[in-house]
Every structure is written in C-alpha cells, then in structure tokens.
C-alpha cells in the first residue's frame, strides 16, 4: 500500500484549522473569566473555565467592547484555532456578559469610563425636531416591543413616513446590525430622528445595549436618537448615550407624536374660545350701547329740567310784572285825558271810578 504524502507541519495546522472552522464556525461558549490580561496594549488573553475545564481565549484589544474582569461570567462567540506553535486556543469575536452580577459589573465599569469621556453629558442632548415627519426605527419587526410602538404611533398620529431597519435586538450579532442600521440612517440623512426599539426581556437579553461600540455609535449619531429599551426599570448605556431616553417602546411613540384625540379636544376648546369671546364682545358692545342710550336719556331729562326751571323763573318775572299784582298792593291805574278838566278812569284792585282833573302841574324828578 503506497504511503500517503506527508504534510508539512504548517500544512497540517492549516488543515486542522479548516476542519475546526467548518465544524465549529461561530460557536458560543459560556464560562467564567480567569487570568484576564492585556499584552502590549494590543492583545487580550484570558481563560474561560467551568468547574472542570479551562480554555485559553484570545482577541485583539480593539474588539473588546465589554469590560472584563476575572470572575465575570460571559458568553463568547468565536472560532477554535490551533496556533502555529501547536497550542489550542479560542479566538473570540464577541463577548456578552451573562448573569446579573457580571452584567452589573460590566455596566458599572464601562459607564464610569464613558462618563469620564463625556458621552453621557446632558448638555450634548438634542431636542426632538419641531415638525417631525420622517422617523427611522431600528428594531426587530418580529418583536412585541416593535408592535407596541407601531400600534401606539398609529393611534396617536398620522402622516408620518416611518422607515424601519429590521435588525436583531438580542444575542451575538445584534450589536453590529444595530450599528450598521445607525450608519445607514446617518448616511441617508432622510430621517429626522432615529428610534431604537426593544421590548422587555431578561438582563441577558438586554445586555447587548451595553456594548461599547454601540454606545459610541449612538453618542456619535448626527441624527438625534431616542431609545425605548425594555421596561421602565431597565436602563442601558445606550439609553444614557441617546438624546432622549423613553421608558418603553410605547413611550417612544408618545414622545415622538402628539395625540390626535387631544388635538381634536384642543380644536373644540379653540372654537369655544372664539365663541366665548364673540359673546363677550356682543355683551360689551350691547352694554356700551345701552350705556350711551342711558347717557342720552339722562341728558335729555337734565335739559328738560333746566328748561322747566327757566320757564318757572320767567313765569315768576311775568307774574311780578302783572299790573293786577300792583293793584293788589293798593296802587291804582289812571287812564284817560291827562289835562285840566279831562275825564279819567281810576282802576283799583276791586273798583273802577270816573274822575275829572282839576289841575295839572309838572312833577319834579325827586318827587
């Protein structure tokens, strides 16, 4: 039997790596981090272990997007590899912390780091545009949170153009998809706001929203970002980096849109305001007109009173000048021919007498 051709060592290692790659492409392993170290500021090494075994892991530092410490539980995705020195290791592509303790630890470490860099600075937060017509949504179209968002959005308002980037929202690969969707919207520059939507889930499910690269992508977005991730109690670093953090997907819809029913109520109130003002104006003009009429009436009465008073005064003067009044006081009126021998008539208050004039002489002025 002919002897098979011999591999060189390098060829054999390559064949082994091809077989490993084929058999275990993107395999996910869960374990506890031990012996974590960074060499030359470029390479990350750690062991992933359980109570019986340990696996050496490696990745370039720039791919480490979650702070690691010994004792943290993580899931790693990557490929097993035989090095050219014949040592077996696991080349890590991505890491997600698992379990509440590890997630909290990774969250606190990364939060402190990014906070120091100013990624969560409240002064950098941008408001929502006033006249919102185009919204970019990043979510899984299969997710309940997305359905809630669309339902509330449609109930509240209309006329919006909503562009949806369908991505994963949990597990390995989801962060890269969300980052690509963010890039897509930022390059298209058609939408006015980007909403990242993800309904409630376990701490493990939501852990991808604490990925450093994703948090940085959100903070760097040219278009304002609003997040609705998980429930009210959940807070991720992506939430902190976003311009606006809504408590839930439904709350994103509430913050982005006015409520059409409330707008209808406002319309009714506006018309009522016009109606009330119209009545108020009519009342004002009416009372003002009545006031004018009242003034005219008062003036007329005043004029009449003054006229009556004048008439009364004139009447008194006339009465005073009446000759009969003089006669009553004892005087007499003499009429007739005023000459010697002339006949005159003497009128008193109650008598008439005929007389003849005996003599006449001139009367001096002083009587």
């Amino acid at each position: 039997m002919p002897e098979s051709p011999a591999f060189t060592v390098s060829e054999f290692i390559d064949v082994c790596n091809d077989a490993l790659d084929l058999a275990y492409r993107n395999i996910i392993i869960e374990g506890e981090v031990a012996s974590f170290k960074v060499n030359q500021g470029k390479w990350v090494f750690f062991d992933l272990k359980d109570d019986q075994s340990s696996l050496g892991c490696f990745l370039p530092l720039f791919q480490l997007r979650v702070p690691l410490e010994d004792g943290m539980k993580v899931k790693v995705q990557g490929v097993p590899k035989l090095t050219k020195w014949g040592k077996f290791s696991f080349t890590v592509k991505s890491i997600i912390p698992v379990g509440d303790g590890s997630i909290k630890k990774a969250f606190d470490l990364l939060k402190a780091k990014l906070e120091k860099e100013g990624l969560f600075d409240p002064l950098k937060k941008r408001p929502l545009p006033d006249d919102l017509t185009k919204i970019g949504v990043i979510s899984s179209t299969q997710a309940a949170g997305y359905a809630d968002f669309i339902k509330i959005l449609n109930e509240r308002w209309g006329g919006l153009n909503v562009q949806v980037a369908h991505t994963g929202v949990q597990g390995f690969g989801a962060t890269e998809q969300i980052i690509r969707a963010l890039d897509y919207f930022n390059q298209q520059a058609e939408v006015q706001v980007i909403a990242i939507i993800r309904g409630g889930g376990s701490a493990d499910d939501l852990a991808i929203f604490n990925d450093e690269k994703l948090v940085r992508a959100v903070a760097a977005s040219r278009i304002p970002v609003i997040t609705g991730i998980g429930h009210e109690v959940d807070q991720s670093l992506v939430d902190l980096a976003a311009d606006i953090e809504a408590s839930t997907p439904s709350n994103v819809a509430q913050l982005l849109t006015p409520d059409r029913q409330a707008e209808v109520r406002n319309l009714h109130a506006t018309i009522m305001r016009a109606k009330n003002q119209l009545f108020s104006q009519i009342n004002f003009i009416s009372s003002s007109t009545l006031g004018t009429l009242d003034g005219a009436k008062r003036q007329l009465l005043s004029n009449i009173t003054a006229e009556l008073s004048r008439l009364e005064h004139t009447q008194k003067i006339l009465e005073h000048l009446n000759p009969e009044q003089v006669l009553v006081q004892g005087y007499a009126i003499v009429t007739g021919a005023m000459r010697e021998g002339g006949e005159v008539t003497i009128t008193t208050a109650d008598k008439l007498a005929k007389a003849t004039i005996n003599s006449i002489k001139e009367r001096s002025n002083n009587g």
Partner: protein, 66 residues
C-alpha cells in the same frame, strides 16, 4: 387653485382666525362670517386629523451583512 395646507398650517390659520375675535380689528359686521369660517376650518382639521395614516416601510436591506 388654492394651495393645499398641512394640518399644522391649518391649525395656525385657525388660531389666527380666533385671535381676530380678541383683536382691535374685531367688528360685529364680520363676526358671524368669521365665526362660521372658523368652525368650518376646525371641522376640516378634525376630519384631517382622524383620517391621517402613517406610511411604514421596512427598508430592503440585510443588516446582518456588512
């Protein structure tokens, strides 16, 4: 042909119409006509508001690939 106004433009127009009742230009001669026009505009806005639909498009792009 009259320009088609957006809902916000119509609401702004309605507010302006209502402000007329508060302004110096108010006159009883025009009040009834202006009030009826405001009501007509409000009904039009209400109809628009309740009839508005959103356009939702799922982007035809696979974000799982670079």
């Amino acid at each position: 042909m009259a320009e088609k106004l957006s809902i916000n433009q119509k609401i702004a127009k309605l507010n302006e119409a209502v402000e007329w009742f508060y302004g110096d230009d108010f006159s009883l001669d025009h009040a009834t006509t202006n009030y009826q026009q405001a009501i007509k505009l409000a009904k039009e806005i209400e109809k628009d508001l309740l009839g508005l639909k959103n356009q939702i498009e799922v982007i035809d792009k696979d974000f799982t690939k670079e």
